[in-house]
Symmetry: C2
């Protein structure tokens, strides 16, 4: 177990919004993450909602702009927001913003120059949950996951891989089929190599085609999102879910773009969706 | 009337969050401000809440972190968030963050080197309201004002100067008596000169002592605010209001600091306070 240090803590909506740092064995770098812990009774263990961020983001974007604290306080749910990649000197990077630092795509890279540090799957699926379980008042038997864009890809693929771990999965404007869109082709090709068969385990639509299941999904997608037609393609998820019998609630939201103005507008709905499944009230 | 250009617009909570820029005649610089316009009927004129920001801030801090859009959409109230000073090359500045660019203190400077551009009183009281009235679907007969820290000082002093213009005034951790605290002594001394008699028209406590009145005020103040004892001194406002018969609701909030975690927690209360007075429901 690595040692966690507190970067900052502030009271918010009756709870505590913190930022923490630890030396990750998965990535071989320091990693920073944000946690909101709502007000709770002594000894109480709280359900947890994981929020995975999109391209270029750190833990801070959703903490500053996501507007989750009111809803998480109301439903007494913890929220954990990890970073999107390893960072720092000695960590590989790409000149573009859609690969490398800030763009880990939640996979364990097998290819040079990424393999030494870009192990975000192991970090998000194994190492950080163990740290959170040890350091926070959390009920790891009650987990939900969500995310935005690249983080929506992360949420969908991780939930499909671990349907027994997560009781709820939602996404904001997710990349649903990275194997079929430019962002994903570049990232999965770079991190995992050019054998597209290896990509299917990191592509929500392909995972569903290959038999992965989740009880139900909520996806919000802005119709004015500049990335909708080329990169996000919720139609591909709708088809895959229909063919597989997965209960997908896909809400096309007129006028909304890809920004945190969109995310914050619908955040309370996603927290409520998670709360219903975490509290077994739906 | 200056020409306004749109920097950005995005749909949020059913309305539009915009950022706009114009060439200010008051400051002699380009000025940027944010406006949230909630969903409304064609031809409807909306009440407006002015939010004045604190030291170091621009229009963007409260737009990103303030969490007002949900409450403003619910109450159908516009929100305008101006910048805190003129900025740019050729504009005087101070090496510290508590004076100069980002720290205009909502006064018209009379002293060198500030006088040419630091005319934030005229900008906030006259020029920007005229622009907002011309460009947005606003009912200028229904205005409220609030602010944080230096912006709370701005909100209190402007409301006390114009009790017939504003139906509501609230503040988050305001500077209530700049003449009596280090931030204010530096800023008012620099902008207005060393004759302290000239400061009284820009000091909420002194204005109340000198006869200014407002029907009622709401102030939230975090008890864990590092600036509470030296710079903010809500006790001085409480005494002045008690002596003057002004109905002050001062809420000391245990555990909260000076950050936007504090502001966002209580933002909905301040919007509701304003809404009650703008809609004549309290």
């Amino acid at each position: 177990m690595t040692t966690m240090t507190t970067v900052s803590e502030a009271k918010a909506f009756g709870g505590t919004q913190g930022v923490y740092r630890h030396a990750s064995t998965a990535t071989g770098t320091d990693m920073t993450f944000a946690v909101f812990v709502p007000a709770h009774e002594a000894g109480e263990r709280l359900p947890v909602l994981w929020y995975l961020s999109g391209l270029t983001c750190t833990h801070a974007n959703v903490m500053d702009k996501g507007g989750y604290a009111r809803a998480c306080a109301e439903h007494r749910i913890m929220l954990v927001a990890p970073d999107t990649s390893p960072r720092g000197e000695g960590v590989a990077d790409d000149p573009a913003w859609d690969m490398g630092q800030g763009a880990g795509f939640y996979v364990d890279a097998t290819e040079a120059p990424w393999a030494p540090h870009f192990r975000m799957r192991t970090y998000i699926e194994d190492e950080l949950p163990a740290l959170v379980a040890a350091e926070f008042p959390v009920d790891m038997g009650a987990q939900a996951i969500t995310g935005h864009s690249m983080g929506g890809h992360g949420a969908l693929t991780i939930a499909l891989r671990h349907p027994d771990r997560f009781r709820s999965c939602t996404a904001f404007a997710p990349i649903v089929a990275p194997s079929q869109v430019p962002w994903g082709e570049k990232a999965l090709g770079g991190y995992l190599g050019q054998d597209r068969a290896a990509w299917r385990a990191h592509d929500a639509v392909a995972m569903i085609e290959d038999g992965a299941r989740f009880p139900d999904l909520l996806v919000d997608q802005g119709e004015a999102d500049n990335f909708l037609a080329e990169q996000l393609r919720p139609d591909l998820l709708a088809t895959a879910c229909a063919d597989a019998g997965i209960d997908l609630t896909l809400r096309m939201q007129p006028g909304y773009d890809h920004s945190y103005h969109f995310i914050s507008t619908f955040m309370a709905d996603h927290v409520a969706w998670a709360a219903g499944r975490l509290r077994n009230t739906v």
